[in-house]
């Protein structure tokens, strides 16, 4: 697979703090990598190194075929960066912001204006085009920030916590915009503290903590690493719980757990789907009336707790 981003052994030290402690990662061309980690894990530092804003103390990184240290211009010509804080000019209008980027990128006055109009339409900002960005909502700012990255369409896009602080509706809109870009072939590296976001957008997830990748894989792969699925059974009558426990014991990998109300049983299964059928039949045979019977898979939250020791 052709690699759009390749980083090997990146290190960066700030006085006393090792922000990157030998970070390795790769993103295949046209793919989406979610860089998932708590605050201070080194996500922003990674993005800044890859976007040529920061020189690593050690290590090597290549983005869109160019070395970030030796050929920063080549990298800059092919990337878009939406930083952790929307980097738009508050005083200018949305329209002026985009025209400015177009002019800086040599689209010419007319070209810059045409492109600005297209992007404002595409990001649903046309109605607010002539208002100073100061008056925009957080979601509008983020969309404008993303639009500014696309004035000249990049082949690799870096998004640093693109939806932090956004309301759910704006978050969905931004996700849709990113998905559309990916469908168009753009490679995306996005950082996030939200497991749900990585799960939804990323083909692969790299979990990062203390400047290092501590787990990597497809979302499902990571979840499987954390453990087998488990069965949750809610019974109608708490009096039937002992009976249920005894018929479930044969399929349990460890002793089933009953929650405090005494009506819900959690069973770690030994063998996934097969055990599920066995358990269902056993409960019916024992005459246990069931309210809810579901196979639960570990969420990325569980992945996170397991790997990092705490949630974000």
């Amino acid at each position: 697979m052709e690699l759009a981003v390749e980083a090997v052994g990146l290190r960066k030290r700030y006085r006393g703090v090792e922000a990157l402690a030998g970070l390795d990662l790769t993103v295949g061309a046209g793919r989406v990598l979610g860089l998932l980690g708590p605050n201070g894990a080194g996500k922003t530092t990674t993005v800044r190194v890859l976007a040529t804003l920061l020189r690593p103390d050690a290590g090597f990184a290549r983005v869109a075929g160019h070395d970030v240290v030796r050929e920063p211009d080549g990298v800059r010509r092919r990337i878009g960066l939406a930083g952790q804080y929307a980097a738009v000019d508050e005083v200018l209008t949305g329209w002026e912001n985009l025209v400015l980027v177009g002019e800086l990128l040599h689209l010419g006055r007319r070209g810059a204006r045409r492109r600005a109009r297209q992007l404002l339409d595409r990001f649903d900002l046309a109605a607010a085009a002539d208002r100073p960005v100061r008056t925009y909502s957080g979601g509008m700012r983020r969309r404008l920030d993303l639009a500014s990255c696309l004035v000249v369409e990049p082949s690799v896009l870096f998004l640093d916590e693109p939806t932090t602080g956004l309301d759910p509706v704006s978050r969905l809109a931004l996700w849709a915009a990113v998905e559309e870009l990916v469908a168009g072939g753009v490679t995306v590296l996005l950082t996030t503290q939200y497991l749900e976001e990585a799960d939804r957008l990323a083909d692969r997830i790299a979990v990062i903590a203390a400047g290092r990748v501590i787990a990597e894989g497809a979302p499902d792969e990571l979840k499987r690493k954390v453990g087998l699925p488990w069965l949750e059974v809610a019974v109608v009558d708490p009096a039937t719980v002992p009976g249920a426990l005894s018929v479930l014991a044969p399929v349990a990998a460890e002793a089933p757990v009953v929650d405090r109300d005494g009506a819900r049983i959690t069973v770690r299964l030994r063998d996934g789907a097969d055990d599920l059928a066995t358990a269902a039949v056993a409960l019916r045979t024992a005459g246990v009336e069931v309210l809810d019977f579901a196979l639960r898979r570990p969420t990325l939250d569980d992945v996170f707790v397991q790997l990092v020791g705490h949630t974000t």
Binding site: R77, I79, V91, V152, E153
Partner: protein, 270 residues
């Protein structure tokens, strides 16, 4: 797959990019006319208070009209007043993450700062025009030949341009914009009083006289007075009688150092 716009060769590319950056700063200043007022406010107040209210209690050392002596100092104050806004704008861009966006674009990183200072120069010239109109109103007149008159204004514009770079460096090295907004007015107000801008340097306490004579504000003011054939005080020291030398000794290194360091810092990947 990426649609690349054609970037012209180096000097032309830099010009286009600097022009775009300058356009942005001019828009900013147009949106916030207070900033523009800010750079003319101090000089206008100086002329009003000293040249009008106190005109009878101040006499020019030597001879001549005090308003004519005062004007060069007030005009030099326009340049000083540009340091603060320039620094605050640069620090603000950095703090708001805008610099990161600009630095990730395939443009000459110097273009942003060069555009910024060029826009400042335009605004400085407008500020000078306002201050000059007011000067004419309170009685200032140039008496030199037209070329010398224009040369003095060019000198003031150059002084302002260098001060804008000083502001850029200040903004880039400062920790936050607030400390600048606290300190910058001090420079605009105090520095002229430690010079011959408003009063002869000889009237200062003796130990301050050499400092005032070597103050670049004195040098700009004296040089302008000479070019405009305005009353020029009674300096006798080398520095006091050779404003051109003092000015060159200040502006050349200041420009090279502040522009050089700022550009280097802006271009460097941290």
């Amino acid at each position: 797959m990426s649609t690349l716009a054609v970037r012209p060769r180096w000097p032309l590319a830099l010009c286009v990019e600097a022009a775009a950056a300058a356009g942005r700063r001019l828009r900013h200043l147009r949106r916030a006319p207070g900033r523009f007022l800010g750079i003319t406010l101090n000089p206008l107040v100086s002329m009003l208070i000293l040249g009008y209210l106190f005109q009878h209690s101040i006499t020019v050392p030597g001879a001549g009209s005090y308003q004519e002596y005062l004007f060069a100092g007030a005009a030099a104050q326009v340049g000083l007043a540009g340091i603060g806004p320039s620094a605050i704008a640069v620090a603000g861009d950095r703090d708001r993450g805008l610099v990161d966006r600009l630095r990730s674009l395939p443009i000459d990183r110097g273009a942003v700062l060069i555009g910024h200072t060029l826009a400042d120069a335009v605004v400085g010239v407008l500020g000078l025009a306002v201050v000059t109109a007011f000067g004419l109103l309170i009685g200032w007149r140039p008496h030199g030949d037209p070329l010398s008159t224009v040369a003095a204004f060019a000198l003031l514009a150059l002084f302002g341009y260098v001060m804008s770079w000083v502001g850029v460096l200040l903004g880039m090295t400062s920790r936050n914009a607030e400390s600048i907004s606290a300190l910058a007015p001090l420079v605009t107000v105090v520095l002229p009083f430690l010079s011959n801008a408003f009063l002869s340097s000889a009237s200062l306490p003796g130990w301050l006289t050499p400092i005032a004579d070597w103050n670049p504000v004195s040098a700009v003011s004296s040089a302008c007075r000479a070019l405009w054939a305005n009353p020029s005080g009674t300096a006798t020291s080398f520095a006091g009688t050779h404003p051109g030398v003092v000015l060159a000794a200040w502006l050349g290194p200041l420009l090279v150092v502040s522009a050089g360091l700022s550009l280097r810092r802006y271009r460097a990947t941290g």
